[in-house]
């Protein structure tokens, strides 16, 4: 009896697993289709991959997307880490909770609201829409995630080490670089990773603040998908799928090198649940 119900549950898991992956595999499968549609597989070809690499506009947009992701996650990680340290050292419980709720506003706000409000902000200030407005927006919505990834590591840190360092004559800079940063490095790396993927995946916010001249992959895929099916997008999605896979495997290894694996998955839950 027990054995049978166990099998049924595995079957259910497999079914959900299949459903979640089917559309992705479907895209990848047809990226090799000679026929040019997503219906009938007529023969194998690499031609669509060739098309992706010859499409200079697409390549430029891909490089821009990568540049935005790297720069925004670097800035967001720096500001977010310093922010987390700041929040950690606020000793009043109430004030700390208040800061954390403010930190989480952008995480719980729908993308449309963030996009629209940033658009108003840039317009009011008279900031031209383009690369910089997208970069600033990505930095802005990535900061809270970094804070949430770094904060638990700070709470695990042994405060006595800071006191000891100060007693031995370390200045603030030395305390920061020699004590605090080394003990929270895994959190910083996780934060960087999250910020990077947030930036790569974002569509809605970018769509609002991108203006005419500048585009990221998400926005470009959107405008091409509106015109219908083109297997070049399939080839592109296969490449992006590989990038995502690579990133997740990398992240998994960062996570594995820590003792407190459980904690990080918990964080992910909070992160995802407050998306």
């Amino acid at each position: 009896m027990k054995k049978k119900s166990l099998k049924l549950s595995n079957l259910y898991l497999l079914l959900v697993f299949f459903l979640l992956y089917a559309p992705i595999l479907y895209l990848i499968f047809y990226s090799f289709n000679e026929g040019g549609t997503m219906n009938e597989f007529t023969g194998f070809t690499w031609e669509h991959y060739g098309a992706v690499f010859e499409d200079t506009r697409l390549i430029r947009i891909a490089l821009d997307t990568l540049r935005i992701a790297l720069l925004s996650s670097l800035f967001a990680t720096t500001i977010g880490t310093l922010g987390a340290i700041g929040i950690y050292f606020v000793r009043k419980y109430k004030a700390q909770q208040a800061l954390l709720s403010m930190n989480n506003i952008l995480l719980v706000s729908p993308d449309v609201i963030i996009g629209a409000s940033f658009l108003i902000l840039f317009t009011v200030v008279g900031f031209r829409l383009g690369f910089l407005s997208v970069l600033l927006s990505h930095i802005a919505f990535s900061i809270p995630i970094v804070v949430l990834m770094v904060l638990p590591k700070l709470q695990e840190m042994n405060d006595a080490m800071i006191t000891a360092a100060r007693d031995l004559g370390a200045n603030s800079w030395q305390v920061l670089t020699k004590i605090i940063l080394p003990s929270i490095t895994p959190g910083i790396l996780a934060g960087f990773f999250m910020a990077f993927t947030y930036s790569l995946d974002d569509f809605a916010v970018t769509f609002f603040v991108t203006g005419n001249g500048f585009s990221t992959l998400s926005v470009e895929i959107y405008s091409r998908a509106r015109q219908g099916v083109s297997l070049e997008i399939n080839a592109l999605s296969t490449l992006l799928f590989l990038v995502a896979l690579f990133l997740v495997i990398g992240y998994y290894f960062i996570q594995r090198n820590q003792q407190s694996k459980k904690l990080l998955t918990k964080n992910q839950a909070r992160v995802v649940s407050t998306r």
Partner: protein
């Protein structure tokens, strides 16, 4: 670190809080009081609350978001539960979460192919004798794809909640003579409610504001609050009305969070 240095390190973060959290939120509220001619007025709110178009759009959007949340829950809860029982559960979990790292646009695009007139699902329907149907650009396709996209976001918090339940509760329940169903109904389900709450939060609020899917998959038949905001900002350029709907969406967000809030257990006494 001394107080002085700490303050300097904190400056960039505070600047961010000011310029990218508070000012934008204030601006969207401020903007909602301006009509399309740029006059300061309550017109937008009056239009919104008296127009049957806006009100029925809002109701529609809420109904759709509710349906998406319910369907997502129905599929995710058993998944999360079975996942906690599985061998190698961490690996399974990772695999089920992996699709969330794939760009949402690509998933939507995959469904354009799958659901199209000559797509694989129609091929299948024709094969089993049901015949081809209009699948893309219907309410049903929108519901289906939105549910697909939200499933992992519901699985994760529920999984964590169930996984945290101490096994001794379950043994105790069995020792006292409860069968599997009773144990589930009286122990596991109530204790997993915190996960369900965060799952609902994670799915319901974004579902109210989906705008890309309504266009690519729903063919503009479904108008959510998000679609309306995007239309007003980027198409009709009526930012005042867009902001008004934005304010409504923010209020809806707070109400949702209030309803799904964790009940205070009185652990953090002050």
């Amino acid at each position: 670190m001394n107080r002085q240095a700490r303050k300097y390190f904190f400056i960039p973060y505070t600047l961010w809080l000011g310029f990218f959290v508070f000012i934008p939120m204030a601006l969207i509220v401020y903007q909602s009081f301006f009509n399309i001619q740029g006059e300061f007025t309550l017109e937008n709110f009056i239009t919104y609350f008296t127009s049957s178009t806006y009100l029925s759009m809002t109701l529609n959007s809420i109904v759709f978001a509710l349906l998406i949340t319910v369907f997502t829950f129905l599929i995710s809860y058993p998944t999360a539960y079975f996942l906690t029982q599985a061998k190698n559960k961490q690996l399974w979990l990772l695999l089920l979460i992996l699709p969330t790292w794939i760009n949402i646009l690509l998933k939507a695009y995959a469904f354009i192919g799958l659901l199209s007139q000559d797509g694989s699902i129609n091929e299948f329907l024709a094969f089993v004798g049901i015949g081809r149907q209009q699948l893309l650009f219907t309410n049903l396709s929108f519901l289906f794809v939105a549910t697909y996209i939200e499933i992992p976001f519901m699985i994760l918090p529920i999984f964590n909640a169930i996984d945290e339940i101490s096994p001794s509760y379950i043994s105790a329940s069995k020792d006292l003579g409860a069968n599997q169903w009773e144990t589930f109904r009286r122990i596991i389900f109530p204790l997993s409610m915190s996960g369900v709450r965060s799952g609902v939060q994670a799915v319901f609020i974004p579902s109210l504001s989906l705008f890309m899917l309504t266009r690519l998959i729903g063919g503009n038949r479904v108008i959510t609050l998000g679609t309306a905001i995007e239309q007003h900002f980027l198409v009709t350029q009526n930012w005042g009305m867009g902001s008004t709907i934005g304010v409504v969406l923010i209020v809806a967000m707070f109400i949702t969070m209030r309803i799904t809030r964790e009940k205070k257990k009185g652990r953090h006494k002050e």
